[in-house]
């Protein structure tokens, strides 16, 4: 009896390492066998598992404030560019090519294109405000809550005079949570809501009036990452508290077409 007790104690202390996948296969199997045979240890493992699930679902992950991000980038840019080194270290031909390119851009019609191509700052502001509002107002996030694209798509079709592409990316870790109508830049637009871990992504879609494809562009505003592009038919604005890289990768995927399953 005393012997069993010792073994039990031993496994109780190993439950965390076991749940965290920190043990080799043989040790894990031994612990598993013990858990099958020992109800008290099993109960302990189950409640620990439940705690970990609660921590994952409920604990706040504080996002770095925008001011911090900007300050760090500014200091580093100053350290990198403030010394005479970068200019000298950078091969001369790079500077030469860059200056020629600049002249070429400035003296051609490209400038007008680039300036038009740049998203109006007002739109970025509006989509971020809309994203924030969707999170603040209870029940405002989705008008149609469904992970089924075949539910969300017809819902939009009945309410809009265009058909936003709707696809579920759950297999890639970005499940579709639903959609709603929103109002941006004078349009009624489709807002698709995706989740990723505990982050939310609002994807605003409306027809591209200029019918001019634009590459993905990542920016940040008020601590949110914003990605914008156009495929010539539709304009897309994605806003999220995800980090910029992850949001951009997701948008690359969206732009690339239908998810692989």
């Amino acid at each position: 009896m005393a012997d069993t007790h010792v073994v039990e104690q031993h496994v109780l202390e190993q439950i965390d390492g076991y749940l965290d996948g920190e043990f080799d296969l043989a040790t894990s199997l031994a612990i598993e066998r013990h858990l099958e045979a020992c109800p008290p240890c099993r109960t302990e493992a189950d409640s620990r598992r439940a705690l970990l699930a609660r921590i994952a679902a409920e604990t706040t992950r504080f996002a770095a404030p925008d001011t911090l991000r900007h300050r760090v980038l500014r200091v580093i840019a100053a350290e990198a560019g403030g010394s005479p080194w970068p200019a000298r270290r950078m091969p001369r031909w790079v500077l030469l090519v860059a200056s020629f390119a600049l002249v070429a851009v400035l003296s051609s019609g490209t400038t007008a294109y680039l300036m038009r191509g740049n998203p109006a700052p007002g739109v970025e502001e509006q989509v971020v405000a809309s994203h924030v509002r969707s999170l603040l107002v209870a029940g405002h996030l989705t008008d149609v809550a469904s992970s089924d694209e075949h539910t969300v798509k017809p819902w939009f079709n009945h309410r809009l005079d265009f058909a936003p592409p709707v696809s579920d990316w759950a297999a890639q870790g970005f499940p579709l949570l639903g959609g709603r109508l929103d109002y941006v830049d004078g349009h009624t637009v489709a807002a698709l809501v995706y989740g990723h871990r505990r982050h939310l992504i609002n994807l605003f879609v409306w027809p591209d009036g200029a019918a001019r494809p634009q590459p993905l562009e990542l920016s940040a505003r008020q601590g949110y990452a914003v990605v914008h592009w156009s495929d010539g038919a539709m304009v897309y604005w994605a806003v999220s508290d995800l980090n910029g890289g992850e949001l951009r990768d997701f948008c690359e995927g969206l732009r690339g077409g239908t998810p692989n399953r």
Partner: protein
């Protein structure tokens, strides 16, 4: 390394973990301004020492630096600061366990909100030496080995601290639930 390459490498490898850096600092220091200062200091140090980083996990490396910056802040004598630097954990664990009395019954309107940030509050009150390993593992997903490197402790210590920390947290959550509901 030319500084413009270093800058590019930093933006590619370190900047994506700025949220994690700030999150760890917030959980260790609580105060948003102190956390921002510590995260900034640590991130800039990471930039200056980037040439010495040869590992594969920039996040674990950055978080180790953040943790050091936070402890430096805590050791700075400051009037009104309640947080103490980590000790071996025995005293604070006992204190935490002693303090686990059911919360006073809240007004009914507050119950829902109360339950929603219950885990946050219990984690916040966990003694720092347990809180930091729980945050590093359960919020930031570091391996035990990486946590050990970050806190300068052997694997066995990481394992037992995490285990005791979670046990305390589990107890705190269940006591609060019973007391509050």
């Amino acid at each position: 390394m030319p500084s413009w390459t270093k800058q590019a490498r930093f933006e590619r490898e370190v900047m994506p973990h700025l949220d994690a850096a700030y999150n760890l600092a917030r959980w260790i220091l609580h105060d948003p301004h102190d956390a921002e200062d510590a995260a900034q200091e640590a991130t800039l140090r990471a930039y200056r020492f980037l040439d010495t980083f040869r590992g594969s996990n920039a996040k674990a490396w950055l978080l180790a630096i953040v943790r050091n910056s936070c402890l430096t802040q805590l050791r700075r004598p400051r009037p009104g600061s309640l947080e103490a630097a980590p000790t071996d954990g025995t005293d604070s664990m006992e204190a935490y366990a002693m303090g686990l009395t059911p919360a006073a019954s809240p007004e009914s309107a507050l119950i829902e909100k109360d339950q929603r940030d219950l885990v946050d509050r219990c984690l916040q009150e966990l003694p720092i030496e347990f809180r930091e390993v729980v945050v590093l593992r359960d919020l930031e997903g570091l391996m035990y080995k990486e946590i050990g490197d970050a806190i300068g402790a052997p694997l066995g210590t990481v394992m037992s601290r995490l285990s005791r920390g979670r046990a305390l947290l589990q107890k705190a959550v269940s006591v609060r639930v019973k007391g509050g509901a």
